[in-house]
Symmetry: C2
């Protein structure tokens, strides 16, 4: 697509779906009767924890990298990322046969650093601050001439991310509510564009940790707000919305529900114990949010929770990369 | 099928497949490029950890319970089991609308006891000895008139267990080696009958913990041997072959490879970390065995390991029920 156009459309998403199909998994959709009873509705889990590189991020990274001109691609790609975008970009670069440089903070989960190395990416460590990450990225770019692929503020990355829910709705057209975690808003933006392109009546919710709730506060305020500090087990949900993703979410979202770490850990535990899936904290936030919406009264959300919930609900499990010796149970 | 006939055939397995289809999942088949590199071949994981009740056992229990006459079913069903057969039988009984009684040792994993209660089964606790379990079962039978469904020494249970690999080979006819864990031998017997019914040239291996290796010793000796004691993390692989399963395995098996607990834990860790699947120790024994076979020289097996391994290998991941606070990593 035209990289200058700020917002991808359903047509761009369908093109992305076709473009990335040879390189990524069509992930399975799982269900659990136990969780249906708990939620009071039928949940359809889109298992992006089972995606290549262990997260939905492979979709956006592959979609972006495969569209680079040979000239753009020649010197490789670079990004700063604490996690899943790094592994995904390293995978995408290896598929295209170009180098990748990933600026990662020293406190990034080992599993996520290992994933980058596993795909042949070069890890550049830095202090865990946004300034240090940006500085590291600029240094790599100056030295190598690598092309930056942003983890979410990029229409091609957003279009790729939206292909997960395209698959889900193609298989389960009866879904009337979809919920996904929100960090920088790339996944949720792509999801919202896909859902409303297919069915404007299907509502889209975001789930956000209360310890990094810039998106919920921004939507409520009607303007972009940042996080003064962040504190959450969901290490993949620390980023902030960009003007682009804020605009998309403002147009499409029914609301954002915020969840505490204890609710995220409960959701992880249910996914491990009942669905037998390894899902990282960030990846379980969507289920945590849905269970909060199901409790209606107790839930903290930017809009009234839908009551009753629709009969079929799609939940995006966004990733599964975590250190096994750091499990919260 | 005729319950007096001792060994089910492929025809019985196909009938079981049709009979249980409305009640059990057709489980997904997963792959992992990282594990393929480790094994030196392409592995196709049949995910029975994602089966209803969390284990392949649902297949055999449903196949047996659905064939009971109304008279046999009237007073419910009973079994003694430390684990997955208990949950599966409770599920099967609930599907038929009859009571179930499960005699379970006091040291059974909580997750497995909870599964029984979750399906409405009555748990009868007993000391963790075979004598106490048998005694408990007889007491329930005397009191209730319940029909016993044996966890593996039953042709209908074996036929049900064999349907997992039927699905796998229907989807991946290029598989030339299948490996599954062995305990009482029900899963492995059903698997061997299915595989050789479809393709006599496809070889079938069993994987057994070295701390409960009655099957490997029995095959080597050419006669049924028991375990004097058992010591393994694989709490679902403690049972011993019956004359029926010994006969089936003696006829069909290429060999049994024995694995230590450390190899089983390594396999679990790979499945959690790389394939993002929750698999219990017993369920991971097949992968542990295959990785041992891949190392050829170092492996302890009842026959020479196939070298090289065929290009496509099926691995049955038999179950995923474990206590999250007891994870070995």
């Amino acid at each position: 697509m035209d990289a200058n156009r700020s917002t991808p459309t359903l047509t761009d998403l369908r093109a992305a779906q076709e473009r990335i199909a040879p390189y990524v998994h069509r992930t399975p959709v799982m269900t659990s009767r136990t969780l249906d009873v708990l939620a009071g509705t039928h949940l359809l889990f889109k298992c992006e924890n089972l995606q290549r590189s262990g997260a939905f991020k492979a979709r956006g990274a592959v979609n972006a990298v495969m569209q680079l001109t040979d000239e753009e691609a020649a010197h490789g790609v670079v990004a700063h990322s604490s996690g899943n975008h790094a592994g995904a970009l390293a995978l995408a670069a290896s598929l295209r046969g170009i180098p990748s440089y990933l600026v990662m903070p020293l406190d990034a989960p080992r599993a996520k650093v290992d994933a980058v190395r596993n795909y042949g990416g070069a890890v550049v460590s830095c202090e865990p601050t946004l300034a240090a990450r940006q500085e590291g990225l600029e240094a790599v770019r100056a030295e190598t001439g690598a092309h930056e692929v942003h983890p979410y503020d990029d229409p091609d990355v957003i279009a790729g991310a939206g292909t997960a829910v395209l698959e889900l709705l193609d298989e389960h057209p009866g879904i009337r509510l979809v919920i996904a975690p929100v960090s920088g808003g790339g996944l949720l933006s792509g999801t919202a564009i896909a859902v409303h392109g297919i069915d404007p009546a299907c509502v889209v919710w975001g789930a956000e940790p209360s310890g990094a709730d810039d998106a919920a506060r921004s939507l409520t305020a009607g303007r972009l707000l940042g996080n003064e500090s962040t504190a959450t087990i969901a290490d993949g949900l620390l980023a902030e919305l960009s003007p682009r993703t804020f605009a998309i979410l403002s147009e499409h979202l029914a609301g954002i529900v915020t969840v505490d770490d204890s609710e995220i850990v409960d959701a992880m535990s249910l996914l491990f114990g009942r669905v037998k899936l390894v899902v990282e904290a960030s990846g379980a936030a969507g289920l945590a949010g849905l269970l909060a919406l199901a409790r209606t009264e107790a839930c903290r959300a930017t809009a009234p929770p839908p009551a009753p919930l629709p009969e079929q609900v799609g939940v995006i499990l966004s990733g599964g990369n975590l250190d096994l010796d750091q499990l919260p149970f």
